[in-house]
């Protein structure tokens, strides 16, 4: 009796596994491209994936997406799995640029062309690199903040050790000398809106005369704006990064002074374009630079359509 029940349960597990699956049979002649994303727990990369999917549909290619959930080792595993599957090209969005070489090697050993997207692959061979420059974006943010205000500013950082945070922070520091602003405080808020609200509240206690805040993403910028209340956009200027829908809305409302927009959909679609070319053995464009854009109240309308 017990055995029967056990078998029934196990079969249930198998059925569950089966229903979760999409069709696996690759139809003849269709090119399959693998897309290894750093995390889909972030609207930015979901948009990147959507852009990639749209371009794949347009070009008649099949896209297989894997999600490393921000774990560099897991990503190596997933690239190995894509190789096993026999995809014709792999688009890699590294969890960490500096830890992506083994994943690149797995593709290289199987002679599968690799296209990096959004973040570079350090120490690995790539056929094409599709990216916007986070460092120069950070510098643009510093310039915008210097334009919007002068005096004491604070810097809200993302997850310690995450490459997006490193690059944006580095660019911001490089761009500081252009205006008349000085960083008097930094705080780590893990790219998280709620944490940024708390951190900014604390910062304001210690630095009541703060004139500006740079947040390494829009989520944190929105948390900072919440903490500033009526001061946001009046005597304290906030600059964010990403250009998310909520961020754009804050620019329209006048609480967010500027944001540095990447174009995730474009990143995804350009990457698939190059991947399909590489899979067919055609010439690829080795470096595809997808522009970052400064969005302020003047031009926000172009981005909200």
């Amino acid at each position: 009796m017990k055995v029967t029940r056990r078998i029934a349960l196990t079969l249930g597990a198998a059925a569950l596994l089966a229903t979760g699956c999409s069709g696996t049979g690759a139809s003849g002649g269709q090119i399959t491209i693998g897309l290894a994303v750093s995390t889909l727990n972030n609207p930015f990369f979901v948009e990147l994936q959507q852009g990639a999917q749209e371009m794949a549909n347009q070009l008649g290619a099949k896209l297989t997406v894997v999600d490393a959930q921000n774990d560099a080792t897991n990503q190596v595993n997933q690239v190995q799995t894509l190789v096993t599957q026999g995809v014709k090209a792999i688009i890699l969005n590294p969890v960490d640029s500096k830890q992506a070489a083994p994943a690149a090697k797995a593709a290289e050993m199987a002679n599968i062309p690799l296209i990096s997207v959004d973040r570079a692959v350090e120490g690995g061979k790539v056929a094409a690199e599709v990216a916007s420059n986070n460092v120069s974006g950070g510098s643009l943010a510093a310039i915008e903040l210097g334009r919007a205000t002068s005096g004491e500013v604070a810097h809200l950082k993302g997850i310690s050790g995450a490459s997006a945070s490193r690059d944006r922070g580095q660019g911001f520091e490089q761009g500081l000398n252009s205006g008349n602003i000085k960083v008097v405080a930094t705080a780590v808020a893990d790219f998280d809106r709620a944490k940024a609200l708390n951190e900014t509240t604390n910062l304001l206690q210690g630095h009541p005369s703060l004139k500006g805040i740079f947040a390494e993403n829009d989520e944190m910028a929105l948390g900072a704006i919440k903490a500033l209340g009526a001061r946001a956009g009046k005597d304290v200027m906030v600059v964010g990064f990403d250009g998310t829908p909520d961020g754009l809305k804050a620019i329209q409302d006048g609480t967010l002074a500027a944001t540095i927009a990447q174009q995730p959909k474009l990143l995804g679609s350009k990457a698939v374009e190059q991947a399909v070319k590489a899979a067919k053995g055609e010439a690829v464009q080795q470096v595809v630079d997808v522009e970052v854009k400064v969005i302020t109240k003047q031009n926000v309308a172009e981005f909200t359509k």
Partner: protein, 301 residues
């Protein structure tokens, strides 16, 4: 084999039966699963969680829990990358000793003591690394590499740690005392076991194993990252439980833990091979963990 012995075998190896069933289902739907290279990959992919989970098995058998293994792995790997691998192992064991001291002499619940260490070890990793990944030296990188193309060292290390774990659990006084403490701590105390001293060793072993897992992980990447192994403690606990150990202590085997770690690795590999959309993968993994635990609890009734 008679029906009765098959039945007995199956009931003692519920997790193994589950693993085989899982493998069959995946192989039928995607034959590429059975490629030799893919099977080796799965073994390598299981290694880090498995080694960590072997250490966790000691703690769980003795009725405790260790939430700090992911952070200890990251700290040990970082210390290993900045200095030398063996020092990473020492640091891991030391962190474990502190856990053990907090639990046995400080009388803290293991959940709280190791939760504190989770934060301290992760913080120290960030302090030492300054938020940057650091390249590992040749020795550590060797741990994550292939001896020959078809002989990956992480796989061999996993099997070595499996053997060591089995020996400790079944052939040493320390192992037998783990079962005694986990089964009934009062009784163990009354029978003359120095429970507090044993717990020091148990948590130190868990820290040491976590450190070894961290070095293998860093070796695979050729680099130790400040955010490495976040959340791995939960995978390690899941592997131990899928393997049939009881979180209330006194029950658990090395074989079970190995199978548990393999179940997780096969699932992750298989779901990607079958092209299950990423968001659904998390749902399926959670459901399979729940089912495995459910099977186990039914078996024990």
């Amino acid at each position: 084999m008679s029906t009765i012995s098959i039945r007995r075998y199956a009931s003692e190896n519920g997790a193994l039966a589950g693993l085989l069933l899982l493998a069959v289902v995946i192989a039928v739907m995607q034959p590429a699963f059975l490629n030799a290279q893919n099977l080796l990959n799965v073994g390598v992919q299981a290694a880090v969680i498995a080694i960590m989970a072997f250490g966790m098995t000691f703690v769980v058998v003795a009725g405790g829990i260790d939430l700090s293994v992911g952070s200890i792995a990251a700290l040990a790997a970082m210390v290993g990358a900045l200095t030398a691998g063996p020092l990473g192992l020492v640091v891991g064991a030391l962190c474990g000793l502190v856990n053990g001291a907090l639990v046995s002499y400080g009388k803290l619940p293991p959940f709280i003591a190791t939760l504190a260490m989770l934060s301290v070890a992760r913080g120290l990793t960030l302090v030492f690394s300054e938020g940057q990944p650091h390249e590992t030296d040749a020795v550590v990188t060797f741990l994550g590499s292939n001896l020959t193309p078809s002989l990956p060292l992480p796989l061999l290390l996993m099997l070595a740690f499996f053997g060591i774990t089995g020996l400790i659990l079944t052939r040493t006084n320390l192992g037998r005392r783990m079962y005694a403490i986990g089964g009934n701590e009062e009784a163990a105390k009354l029978s003359g076991i120095d429970v507090r001293k044993q717990k020091l060793w148990i948590y130190a072993l868990s820290g040491l194993f976590a450190a070894a897992a961290g070095l293998v992980l860093a070796g695979r990447l050729g680099s130790a990252g400040p955010q490495a192994a976040v959340g791995y403690e939960l995978d390690a606990i899941a592997a131990v439980v899928i393997g049939g150990a009881s979180l209330s202590g006194g029950v658990g085997r090395a074989t079970g833990t190995l199978v548990g770690a393999l179940v997780l690795a096969v699932l992750r590999n298989g779901l990607n091979l079958l092209q299950v959309p990423p968001f659904w993968q998390q749902v399926v993994i959670g459901a399979v963990i729940a089912l495995a635990a459910l099977l186990d609890s039914l078996r024990r009734r």
